[in-house]
């Protein structure tokens, strides 16, 4: 800890609340080498900082020392883009059910040891340190996470009524930001909750009906092809989901999939 760092964070009023933390962070130069946990210390961390701001402090410190800063993903830092995602003390996004960017250091206390790891799943290869390649999710979306819409003038909004209960459930599912915490938390590294959220979101709305059977069949085939594990309904995914997507979506996916297969839908190869 350098003197200049201490002056760069917090104001004198916070000083007595500032925390000293020991971080153990997964460092991996690139996908081809083996990574390992490396210990760092940060001090005078304000409880009002977000977890990512705390990592920013560490990185400034590393840059000052001429070391390689820790790579981690982030974008909006307001819990809506799904880019940030870290395994914090063995929990996806840490001890609160929120995104890593919305996790605040007040969830920790002075002297805590914090282990930080990347999402671990073979379809999410580590790019560097804590940053993983989550494009497997994009390919699952491409396999069926879309609807057909007529071009031209926007249709009259009331032309297609949607029951309130359905629109609420569809919206709940649509809050999925694709962060990958479900895969990270799942003992099987299954992407079931993610795929189920998409299938539920589109399958509950009238606009999602034309592709409903093909969607579920192709999205499930794609998640298998990507190498995700199968679901065993343990529930770690839903408990880790920053948006609280429920296990009900998984039952709905299964229901739609078995129905679609019985109706003769087959995945595109």
């Amino acid at each position: 800890m350098t003197a200049s760092m201490q002056s760069s964070v917090g104001n004198p009023a916070d000083e007595k609340r500032g925390m000293n933390l020991t971080l153990r962070i997964w460092r991996q130069k690139d996908p081809s080498v083996k990574g390992k946990m490396v210990t760092y210390k940060v001090s005078d961390i304000s409880p009002d900082m977000s977890f990512l701001e705390m990592l920013d402090v560490l990185n400034e410190q590393l840059i000052m020392q001429g070391d390689d800063p820790v790579a981690f993903d982030h974008d909006c830092r307001e819990g809506i883009c799904g880019m940030c995602g870290l395994m914090i003390n063995g929990q996806a996004h840490g001890p609160q059910q929120t995104t890593t960017c919305q996790l605040h250091m007040r969830s920790f206390k002075d002297g805590d040891k914090i282990d930080i790891e990347p999402w671990r799943a073979s379809p999410f290869p580590v790019i560097k340190d804590l940053a993983v390649d989550r494009r497997a999710f994009d390919r699952i979306i491409q396999a069926g996470g879309y609807i057909s819409v007529p071009t031209g003038t926007a249709p009259e909004a009331h032309a297609t009524p949607v029951p309130k209960a359905d629109s609420d459930a569809a919206f709940d599912a649509a809050t999925c930001i694709g962060c990958g915490a479900c895969v990270a938390a799942c003992p099987n590294a299954s992407s079931m909750l993610f795929t189920a959220a998409k299938v539920t979101h589109l399958g509950l709305l009238p606009q999602g009906q034309p592709e409903r059977d093909d969607r579920v069949v192709n999205m499930v085939a794609q998640q298998d092809r990507e190498g995700f594990g199968g679901c065993t309904n343990i529930g770690e995914c839903s408990a880790a989901c920053p948006k609280g997507i429920s296990m009900e979506t998984i039952s709905r996916l299964n229901h739609d999939l078995l129905g679609a297969l019985r109706a003769g839908a087959r995945p595109k190869s």
Binding site: Q142, N188, N233
Partner: protein
């Protein structure tokens, strides 16, 4: 009406590019793991349906076992009856063999699906977390695989013990005497108890899981399904356990 398909992420080119990358840039330099050929949800459905077949048999089996409390003659007669259902219209043991074959198919299908999904899950996370905290998982859900393997070994032993009599201390005796002989050994009884408790836990999670797998659960039903799974497994296993305990404590001899 003309229709255009809106794709939420990218078009064709990025897919190809992305595929190219995923094949070459993989975890710790390994190539993309081999992919499952059969749909994982279909495997789960196979597991659920074969599981239900076995559960239906277990209900009948448990109720049948309670016949020991009606005495040796009645129990041996019941054993005789199982072998002669449908006679003389069909040869002896026909019904029994139909049940045995159905169960064998169920066990093989269940085990195949379980092993296949087990391997898929292992491939999906080759590198384990240094620190991992379980938040939602129950002991039952965590022991499905190894618990299942122990239950399978138990089934093999159980058949050699009480059906064929191969490992029974009183192998050539009547079904009733064989049962008493087996459970008079506290080690055998202990093995039965452990296996049955594991089976009970397997069913506690299995019933919930099968309801999800077959798409019959929802937020409203979740509590009921889980409560049913707990009560059902407890009653079923208690019904099985009462027999060895009664022998051990001399209530049946």
């Amino acid at each position: 009406m003309s229709c255009v398909t809106t794709c939420l992420v990218g078009g064709k080119a990025p897919v190809v590019l992305a595929w190219g990358l995923v094949v070459t840039v993989t975890h710790a330099g390994r190539r993309t793991p081999k992919v499952a050929k059969t749909n994982s949800v279909v495997k789960k459905a196979v597991m659920a349906i074969s599981g239900i077949v076995m559960v239906l048999y277990l209900i009948a089996h448990m109720i049948g076992n309670l016949k020991v409390f009606t005495g040796a003659e009645s129990f041996n007669h019941y054993s005789e009856w199982i072998r002669t259902i449908g006679t003389p219209a069909v040869p002896e043991q026909t019904t029994l063999w139909i049940i045995r074959i159905a169960l064998l198919v169920a066990v093989v299908a269940h085990f195949w699906a379980a092993v296949s999904l087990w391997r898929q899950a292992k491939r999906a996370r080759p590198e384990r977390y240094v620190t991992k905290k379980a938040v939602a998982q129950s002991y039952a859900s965590r022991t499905m695989r190894w618990g299942g393997v122990i239950v399978l070994l138990f089934i093999v032993y159980h058949i050699l013990d009480l059906t064929t009599g191969t490992v029974n201390p009183d192998g050539d005796a009547s079904p009733y005497d064989r049962l008493v002989a087996s459970f008079s050994n506290p080690f055998v009884t202990a093995f039965y108890v452990i296996s049955l408790v594991l089976l009970g836990m397997h069913l506690r999670h299995g019933i919930w899981s099968a309801t999800q797998t077959l798409g019959q659960s929802n937020r409203r039903r979740e509590r009921t399904v889980n409560a049913f799974a707990i009560v059902f497994s407890t009653v079923l296993i208690a019904g099985f356990l009462i027999v060895p305990f009664s022998v051990l404590f001399g209530l049946v001899d």
